[in-house]
Symmetry: C2
Subunit: 191 residues, 2 copies
């Protein structure tokens, strides 16, 4: 719990009594490798905080081809934001790539608390803004940079991850096939 408090406080300061209320909303839950935090067809209801483990957020098209939109690592908020705010079924799913421990809260409870604690609502808004900026950056990377450059950015952004998850998950994040990632890796190791 301590880590969640630290995380929220770093975004925007929250009062101690606000934290007392927040704490009550979250409870610990375990996800084993391969299990889903958000599944196909569901409408998102919960929000989480990843205490340990790795989760991927991904999209799957009609032909079953998947694209990894994002990897979540320790001490980050998880949950289907678009689905939460639109109340439409998820099109982005979230799955544990390793065993995970998460803190889970009902999103409806969170928004209720927004009404009572403006300092907490500010955290929520800033978080959304931060995600927006991140997304803008990634969109530009995807269009303007080639896969080898994006691979280097991935390694910088997630230094630990490369050892922990399969190559084909990384390829999917980069928007290329495992074949192509293999070629890129060979190219870099040859020098």
């Amino acid at each position: 719990m301590k880590e969640l408090q630290k995380y929220l406080n770093a975004i925007s300061p929250i009062q101690d009594k606000t934290w007392d209320r927040i704490e009550l909303l979250f409870s610990e839950k375990k996800l084993t490798k391969g299990a889903y935090f958000i599944e196909e067809g569901e409408t998102a209801k919960q929000i989480g905080f990843l205490q340990s483990g790795i989760i991927r957020a991904f999209y799957r098209n009609n032909e079953g081809i998947e694209y990894n939109k994002h990897f979540f690592i320790q001490n980050n908020i998880i949950g289907g934001y678009s689905s939460l705010v639109t109340s439409m079924p998820n099109i982005i799913f979230q799955q544990a790539l390793t065993d995970c421990v998460i803190l889970v809260a009902q999103y409806a409870e969170i928004t209720k608390l927004y009404d009572l604690c403006p300092d907490f609502e500010r955290v929520g808004r800033k978080l959304a803004e931060f995600y927006f900026v991140e997304k803008e950056k990634r969109e530009i990377e995807i269009v303007l940079l080639e896969a080898d450059k994006r691979y280097l950015i991935f390694r910088k952004e997630y230094p630990q991850l490369e050892q922990l998850i399969p190559q084909y998950q990384i390829a999917s994040y980069l928007g290329i096939t495992p074949t192509q990632l293999s070629r890129i890796r060979r190219k870099f190791s040859e020098r």
Copy 2:
């Protein structure tokens, strides 16, 4: 002004007296073709509502290569959202592709009004959420679809635009060269 009121009301209802205050913040401004609403290096201060004309939002990298992130058409909000919320210099610029008439307000005045009118703040929040969802959709398109499919989506999304702006602007939106767009267009017209 009427159109702006309609636009905001459609997102979330605003009271008449709230609208009276909003109206005071906006004033009309003209942009001639080629002029910038947001320029390089600046930090965004203003927000606008496009009454007529076309504006492109684009990114330019170190080598001067540009990527059109978005086209704004009539009756849409414009402005450098990321820069407004982070107070960092713009990395996305906005330029008129045709002569434009816009309504302009100081963003600081807008946020001040949020404090007074919760119904207006709700509009702001919903708008941000809507943008977020749009972005998620576009990210998926870019990674998962090939240029010819994205071209068809562009034509559906902006039916009028193809006649009004140069092909190379469209190519830049699709993340390809004018050469490649030309090939794609030929492919479609051959059938």
